[in-house]
C-alpha cells in the first residue's frame, strides 16, 4: 500500500501530484520550487500522466490558467515560491472570490530585496488574507500528506476554496528525507473525481463567471459566504484527516501539540523549525523544565480558540515569526495569537521572536535562549522586550 523512499521535499510533492494526476497544471519555474515542475514535466513526457501541462510565460499567467481551468470544471494545480507568489497576488483573491478549489504548493522563500533564494515565510504570509486556505508542513512527509489532503479540503462542497500548502525552501525542499509514498491507486481513490458546480463548459446551461458587482449589488454577501466557507475548512480538514489516517496511518490536527499537556513554557512555530524546537523541548524536559511546543498546521483559517485552549495554562509563551513584521508590535503569527488570547480573556505573557529571515540558520542554542527568556518572564511576570530579532549579527 505504501513505499518508503529517500527523496527531497520537492520530489515528495511531485510524487503526490503524479498520484493525484490533476486535469490541468499551469506552472512557471522559480527556485526552490522548480524541481517539482521539472519532475512533473518528466511524468508528462513519459506519458505517465494525462494532465494538460502548461508551462506559462509568468506566474501571473500560471495562476490565471488555473482560474480558467478550474472554472471550466477541471481539477487544477500549480506550484510557486517567493516572487512568483507575489506576481500571482492579484489573482489569488480572484480565485477565492470565484470559489475555485485550485491547489497550490508554495515552497517558502524570502521576498526581495535584497534578492534572496533562501527560506523565510514572507511570501505566503503576504498572502494570508487572500481568502486561500493555508496549510504548513514541517517536513517532506507532511508536505506530501498535506498536499493530498488539500484536494479534498478545497473541493469539499462546504468549502470550495483554493488551498496553498507550504514547506520550507532548501532545508526541506532540497533535503533528502524518509517519505512513505502511497500507491497511485490508493491516492486516486482517496481524492476521487472533481464534481464542479456550474462548470463553464456546460454548453447546455451557459453561465457567466467573474461578473461585475457594484454599488447596490451583493459584494458583501459574497464575502460573508467566503468567510463562512473558510471557517468550515477547520471541520472539513479534521474529517479529511480522519479518512487520510485510514489509508496512511498518519492523522493531522489543526496544529500539533508537542508535550503541551503540562507545559509551563511554550513556543509556537511554523514549518521546519518545529523539528529543531522539538529536540530542544526534549533536552529541556530531561533537565526538568516543563517545555512544550505548538506547531501550526492550518494557519488560514486560524484555529484561534483551539490554540488558546492549548496554551492557557502556560506561564509564558513565545511566538516565532519567520517574516519581518515591519511593525513594532510583532510578526503576523504573534498578532494572531495575541488577539486570540485577548478575545478568550486569557492573559498569558506573550513574547515575539523574528528569526531565520532569508535562510538565516536557526540553531538549538537560539531556541534554548527563547525558553530561558520565558522562564525569566514567568518569574517577573513582565515582558521587557516584546519583539526580539533572533540570531542577528552584532
Amino acid at each position: 500500500m505504501s513505499t518508503v523512499k529517500a527523496i527531497t521535499g520537492d520530489a515528495a510533492v511531485a510524487e503526490a501530484m503524479r498520484s493525484i494526476e490533476p486535469d490541468v497544471v499551469g506552472v512557471y519555474p522559480i527556485t526552490p520550487q522548480t524541481i517539482i515542475v521539472e519532475a512533473y514535466a518528466e511524468y508528462v513526457a513519459r506519458g505517465e500522466v494525462q494532465t494538460e501541462f502548461i508551462p506559462a510565460e509568468s506566474e501571473h499567467s500560471a495562476i490565471s490558467i488555473c482560474v480558467g481551468a478550474a472554472a471550466a470544471g477541471a481539477r487544477t494545480m500549480t506550484c510557486t515560491s517567493s516572487q512568483g507568489l507575489a506576481l500571482m497576488w492579484e489573482v489569488l483573491p480572484i480565485a477565492s472570490g470565484m470559489r475555485l478549489p485550485i491547489v497550490m504548493f508554495d515552497v517558502n522563500r524570502a521576498i526581495s530585496a535584497p534578492i534572496n533564494i533562501h527560506c523565510d515565510h514572507s511570501d505566503t504570509m503576504g498572502a494570508r488574507d487572500t481568502g486561500w486556505i493555508q496549510i504548513y508542513s514541517e517536513n517532506a512527509q507532511e508536505a506530501y500528506d498535506n498536499f493530498i489532503q488539500a484536494v479534498r479540503i478545497a473541493e469539499h462542497p462546504d468549502v470550495q476554496l483554493p488551498t496553498m500548502v507550504m514547506m520550507d525552501g532548501f532545508v526541506i525542499s532540497h533535503a533528502i528525507q524518509r517519505v512513505e509514498v502511497l500507491d497511485d491507486a490508493v491516492v486516486k481513490k482517496f481524492v476521487g473525481e472533481r464534481k464542479a458546480d456550474y462548470p463553464l463548459l456546460d454548453m447546455d446551461n451557459p453561465v457567466t463567471w467573474g461578473s461585475f458587482d457594484g454599488l447596490g449589488g451583493w459584494f458583501m454577501e459574497f464575502k460573508k459566504d467566503q468567510m463562512q466557507a473558510i471557517e468550515n475548512a477547520k471541520r472539513v480538514s479534521l474529517e479529511v484527516a480522519k479518512d487520510y489516517a485510514k489509508i496512511s496511518g498518519r492523522e493531522y490536527g489543526l496544529f500539533e501539540s508537542y508535550k503541551m499537556d503540562d507545559a509551563e513554557y511554550a513556543v509556537i512555530v511554523i514549518n521546519s523549525t518545529a523539528g529543531t524546537a522539538k529536540t530542544v523541548v526534549d533536552t529541556l524536559r530531561d533537565r526538568g523544565v516543563k517545555a512544550g511546543l505548538i506547531k501550526i498546521r492550518m494557519y488560514r483559517p486560524f484555529p484561534a480558540s483551539e490554540i488558546v485552549e492549548a496554551l492557557k495554562n502556560c506561564k509564558a509563551v513565545a511566538v516565532m515569526d519567520r517574516v519581518p513584521g515591519y511593525v513594532d508590535i510583532g510578526g503576523p503569527l504573534f498578532e494572531d495569537v495575541q488577539v486570540a488570547c485577548y478575545q478568550e480573556g486569557v492573559n498569558v505573557p506573550l513574547v515575539n521572536y523574528i528569526y531565520g529571515l532569508g535562510g538565516r540558520d536557526i540553531l538549538t542554542s537560539h531556541i534554548e535562549s527563547v525558553y530561558s527568556d520565558l522562564e525569566k518572564i514567568a518569574k517577573t511576570g513582565k515582558v521587557a522586550t516584546p519583539v526580539t530579532y533572533l540570531g542577528i549579527k552584532e
Binding site: I54, C66, L200
Partner: protein
C-alpha cells in the same frame, strides 16, 4: 464561403440586447459580428473593460453563451486554462462537442497590460481567436492614452496645451506584432462587414492562435456623434488610416483597396479628440500623421507583393 447578410441576421445574437454599453458603442457591433461568424458553439473570455463591466452586472448577464472574466491583463491566460480543461475532459470523454474559444479585449488589455499573456498564449499554440476591439484609448476608466492611441489624439493623459498637441508618439503596430507570432492575424473594421465576417470565419477555422484587430470607434472618447460610429470606421478605412489586410503564417494580403485618395485630415477633422490639430501651429503633427500612414500603406503594398 462567407455567410450572407440574410444568414447572419437569422442567427441569434449571443450578446443579447439590454446590455449597458453606450449608445453607438463600436465594441458591441464588433462582438456581435464576430460571434455570428462562429459555426460551432462558442465560449467567450473577456478582459476587464467596457465590454465586461457593461454586460455582466450581477445578477444579470447579457451573454447567451458561456462567459468568463477574471482580470485585466490575463484574459489570454484565463482562456488558455479553459481550453486546457476542455482538452483534458475531451480526452476523458466527459465532453463530446466541438467548441470555439474567443477572447475579447480592448486595446489597453491587448496592446499594453495584457500583451505578455497574449504573446504567451500564442507562442504555446493555443487554439483560440483573440479579438481586440480597438477604440484607441482606455475608455472604461475615462479616456486615457494607451499604446493604441494615435499620435496627436487628445486623451485625459495626453492632454493638449502649449507644450504638446495631444499624444506625442505613434501607436504601436499590434497587428504586425501578432502576425510575427506566426499564426493568423488580420485587421478589420465593422464598416466592411463582409470582410470582417470573412476574417472572423477564417480565424475560427484556423488550427492555432488567431488575432483580429478590429477598429471600434468610441463616440464618447473620440468626441463624435453616436449615430456615426460605422461611418467613422468607414472613413478610417477609406483614408488608409486603418488598412484592411490579413497575414496568414507570414503571408500578407491587402483585402480591400480604397478607390480614391482621401487625406487623413478629412477623417481626423470632425473628431473632437483631434480638433486642436486644425490649428496652424499643429500642422507639423498633421503632416507627420499623414507621412506615417503613407509609409505603412506602402509597406503593406510591398509585403503583399503588389505594385500600387
Amino acid at each position: 464561403m462567407v455567410a450572407t447578410i440574410k444568414e447572419l441576421s437569422e442567427k441569434q445574437d449571443l450578446l443579447s440586447p439590454g446590455h449597458r454599453l453606450c449608445a453607438g458603442c463600436g465594441a458591441s457591433i464588433v462582438v456581435r459580428m464576430v460571434l455570428k461568424s462562429s459555426k460551432k458553439p462558442v465560449v467567450v473570455a473577456s478582459a476587464t473593460g467596457c465590454l465586461e463591466v457593461s454586460t455582466t452586472i450581477y445578477p444579470f448577464t447579457a451573454w447567451r453563451t458561456p462567459f468568463i472574466h477574471s482580470a485585466f491583463e490575463n484574459a489570454s491566460a484565463t482562456i488558455s486554462g479553459v481550453i486546457a480543461a476542455y482538452d483534458a475532459m475531451k480526452k476523458k470523454g466527459k465532453i463530446k462537442e466541438d467548441i470555439n474559444f474567443v477572447c475579447f479585449g480592448g486595446d489597453g488589455s491587448t496592446f499594453d497590460i495584457g500583451l505578455q499573456s497574449l504573446s504567451g498564449a500564442f507562442e504555446r499554440g493555443t487554439n483560440f481567436v483573440y479579438v481586440c476591439y480597438d477604440n484607441e484609448a482606455y475608455m472604461n476608466t475615462g479616456i486615457q492614452r494607451s499604446g493604441a492611441t494615435p499620435m496627436g489624439a487628445w486623451t485625459t493623459t495626453s492632454e493638449v496645451g502649449k507644450a504638446q498637441a495631444g499624444k506625442r508618439v505613434h501607436r504601436k503596430n499590434m497587428t504586425e506584432i501578432m502576425a510575427a507570432h506566426g499564426g493568423y492575424a488580420a485587421q478589420a473594421s465593422p464598416s466592411h462587414w463582409r470582410d470582417l465576417v470573412m476574417k472572423a470565419e477564417k480565424a475560427f477555422e484556423y488550427d492555432g492562435p488567431a488575432f483580429l484587430n478590429v477598429l471600434a470607434p468610441c463616440p464618447r472618447g473620440w468626441r463624435i456623434p453616436t449615430d456615426q460610429t460605422v461611418e467613422f470606421a468607414r472613413q478610417a478605412v477609406e483614408s488608409k488610416y486603418w488598412p484592411l489586410y490579413e497575414v496568414m503564417e507570414g503571408e500578407h494580403k491587402i483585402t480591400y483597396k480604397p478607390k480614391k485618395e482621401i487625406a487623413v485630415a478629412e477623417w481626423l477633422s470632425p473628431q473632437g479628440r483631434f480638433k486642436h490639430l486644425l490649428k496652424d501651429a499643429n500642422q507639423p503633427v498633421m503632416t507627420e500623421i499623414q507621412t506615417q500612414i503613407d509609409k505603412e500603406w506602402n509597406r503593406l503594398i510591398k509585403m503583399s507583393g503588389e505594385t500600387t
